[in-house]
């Protein structure tokens, strides 16, 4: 191995594998404690209210699913459109998607008032509900991800003792193109529907617009690919491996750049059409109330647009910057954080400035407010640590990157 000439930087020593796993386990433990506490005391342990019934956990949910979109994107590229040069990253994308969707389901299980009734949407159908469709799609797609992930899992050394599992894994692997097809269909449905769950609410003026579902899927495609590449680059740096070829890395970055531009185009027109060129009284009043009580303008323009879209788009599309690993890492991180900020902004904006319904002039002026409680933060941190732990262990024990080469 050529590791000898690579002087292992001493500052990495403090974060060796064992310490890292141990600290993640501690955070997972805190998350479990928060979950138990919530189970015992109910959702009154959150800072949610009847005016702001959705908050941090829904944001976590939407972000995890959005950032898990790399799985369907790369699966479709590799197994459906047969663009083989993307194959080195396909497994990692599936793996990260699996972690993202399981994270989302963990958080959601805590966020609903009656987790023991999680199966109700499967039995009691309301086909008019976007959320019903989302529930079905997410459950089916989680199954698809599991089918795609199991062959990777069964290749781990541990499963040497059960050869039939490996044979089963190979059988499942043959289904990959079919799974990629269903994955694409299901993801196009629910990634958009998550935006639609806000966009269809005619009573909430800030949300009610047809652009939300489209913006959700576009940001998910860009963000999902970005997270997959970001995780790959970070993992490669930490383990001193070249996990995917450099040309592929730059090609994905360019692809992400174009996805960002498309999303940015739609997002700016969405703003211009609903806020600048038009004046719908309900929307205008809601935006005004929102801006009076929250830093929405700043978080929208500075965090979402400038830091989350414009700057990363420049990095991804400008060849000199794209070739610079540090710039690329910063750009990808900004995209991922930008998506999280976006999901938070979308969720909270419609709730903090609710529709005015009183015929008087006093009753509606009060905007709602929300700051997550410690329990909410602890649970979210625990689930995040679960995802990081899963990825770390996967990197060590699973053949996530079939083409990995020592640096």
């Amino acid at each position: 191995m050529a590791t000898t000439q690579l002087a292992a930087p001493t500052r990495r020593r403090f974060l060796n594998f064992r310490t890292w796993v141990l600290s993640l386990l501690i955070v997972v433990g805190i998350g479990v404690a928060a979950a138990v506490y919530t189970m015992i005391n109910g959702l009154s342990v959150t800072n949610l209210s009847d005016r702001v019934p959705w908050g941090l956990w829904i944001t976590h949910d939407l972000s995890a699913i959005g950032l898990g979109a790399g799985a369907f994107t790369f699966s479709a590229i590799v197994y459906l459109f047969r663009i083989k040069r993307f194959e080195p990253i396909a497994r990692a994308a599936v793996f990260i998607g699996f972690l993202g969707y399981t994270s989302a389901m963990l958080v959601l299980a805590m966020d609903i008032g009656r987790p023991d009734r999680f199966w109700h949407p499967l039995i009691y159908w309301n086909v008019h509900s976007v959320l019903w469709e989302i529930t079905w799609c997410v459950i089916l797609y989680a199954t698809v991800l599991t089918v795609e992930f199991l062959p990777i899992l069964f290749e781990a050394k541990y499963f040497d003792r059960w050869p039939f599992l490996r044979t089963f894994g190979h059988m499942l692997h043959k289904l990959t193109p079919v799974m990629a097809f269903f994955g694409l269909a299901l993801s196009l449905l629910h990634q958009s529907s998550l935006g639609a769950s806000y966009g269809v609410l005619s009573g909430r003026e800030i949300w009610f617009k047809p652009s939300l579902p489209v913006m959700f899927i576009m940001s998910a495609v860009a963000g999902g690919m970005a997270l997959t590449l970001l995780a790959t680059m970070v993992a490669g740096r930490v383990t001193h491996q070249r996990l995917i070829p450099g040309t592929l890395k730059r090609e994905i970055a360019r692809l992400v750049g174009f996805a960002l531009l498309a999303y940015l185009y739609l997002k700016l027109w969405d703003w211009a059409a609903t806020n600048y060129y038009s004046h719908a009284p309900g929307t205008a009043s809601a935006v005004e109330r929102l801006q009076l009580t929250t830093p929405y303008s700043q978080t929208f323009w500075l965090l979402e647009i400038l830091l989350g879209l414009v700057i990363p788009a420049i990095i991804m599309l400008y060849p000199t910057l794209r070739r610079n690993d540090r710039a690329l890492l910063i750009g990808l991180t900004l995209i991922v954080l930008g998506l999280v900020v976006n999901r938070w902004n979308v969720t909270l904006s419609g709730l903090v400035a609710p529709p005015q319904w009183s015929p008087g002039v006093l009753g509606n002026t009060i905007a709602a407010a929300y700051t997550p409680s410690l329990v909410e933060i602890a649970l979210s941190a625990g689930v995040l640590a679960y995802a990081l732990l899963g990825f770390t262990l996967g990197m060590r024990y699973l053949p996530v990157y079939p083409d990995a080469k020592p640096e």
Binding site: L43, G113, Y124, N126, V130, V200, Q356
Partner: protein
């Protein structure tokens, strides 16, 4: 290791191996899950029977309410009677809310708001399990046993009508018995609830030959208690019902008609005798 060479530690007898323990735990877990699935889960009798909803209401009736803001004196009796009758101990869980208001012309009035029982209710459309629906007689009702507590209906409702049980309601209901006696069970933690137009009174009253809106036993508590008769209730399909007559004789409006929700609660302007006339 241990079961291959048990004589290593003579004082510590290996009774079950880790593998056996895991097997037993796994089997127990599966059994518990299977029992759950068949007792209260998707394979239970309730779940399968629940697929068909019993239509309990009669489509000959359509229940509407009129709230005369011009008559209302802001005594809050309707709010308290509602809390007592519908077993709502917490003030922030009120189904029927009220607050002092002012018109654009500066006229003070008291605004009260039950559930508006929209004909095209946004909350009904979004429920992923169909736990809330518009009955044949127009009442928007809830199935607390089906609700999963996702709170999408709360998010969808433009009128801030729905309330979620963030904790088990255990407090003492201070409005009992002064303002009424509870007629329904308290809802469990984790489900959404809302004003039902006192549906229990309507259903029982009709079965006893009483007419809601006319006979107090069959009329919502908030309507009965009002000392100034600011609330009228009844069947709008019957032109002789008190609510139909009231609607006929007064100019009324509904909240946010532009949203197209078609509410069944109508209001009389607070300043009909004021500057605007």
């Amino acid at each position: 290791m241990a079961d291959k060479n048990p004589t290593d530690q003579p004082d510590k007898k290996v009774i079950i191996t880790r593998r056996q323990a895991l097997k037993v735990m796994g089997a127990t877990g599966c059994a518990v899950i299977a029992t759950q699935l068949f007792n209260s889960g998707p394979f239970s009798v309730d779940a399968i029977e629940g697929l068909e909803r019993v239509t309990e209401a009669d489509s000959r009736y359509e229940w509407h309410m009129v709230i005369d803001l011009n008559k209302c004196v802001g005594c809050q009796y309707c709010i308290w009677a509602c809390q007592a009758t519908n077993n709502v101990p917490e003030d922030d869980m009120r189904w029927n809310i009220g607050f002092p208001e002012k018109t654009e012309n500066g006229t003070d009035f008291y605004m009260t708001r039950p559930c508006l029982h929209c004909e095209d209710a946004p909350c009904v459309k979004v429920c992923p399990v169909g736990a809330t629906w518009v009955r044949e007689d127009g009442i928007v009702t809830m199935d607390y046993d089906r609700c999963i507590g996702c709170r999408y209906c709360e998010v969808a409702c433009p009128y801030d009508v729905r309330r979620f049980n963030w904790k088990t309601p255990t407090g003492k209901n201070e409005y009992v018995p002064t303002w009424g006696v509870p007629e329904v069970e308290r809802r469990s933690r984790g489900v959404v609830e809302k004003c039902t137009f006192c549906v229990q009174r309507i259903d029982r009253g009709l079965s006893q030959g009483l007419m809601p809106g006319v006979d107090p036993q069959a009329t919502p508590a908030c309507v009965n208690i009002c000392p100034v008769g600011a609330r009228q209730f009844g069947n709008v399909n019957d032109p002789t019902s008190p609510v139909a007559i009231y609607l006929d004789e007064h100019d009324t409006f509904r909240l946010r008609e532009d949203l197209g929700t078609e509410p069944k609660v109508h209001y009389v302007r607070p300043d009909v005798n004021g500057q605007e006339a």
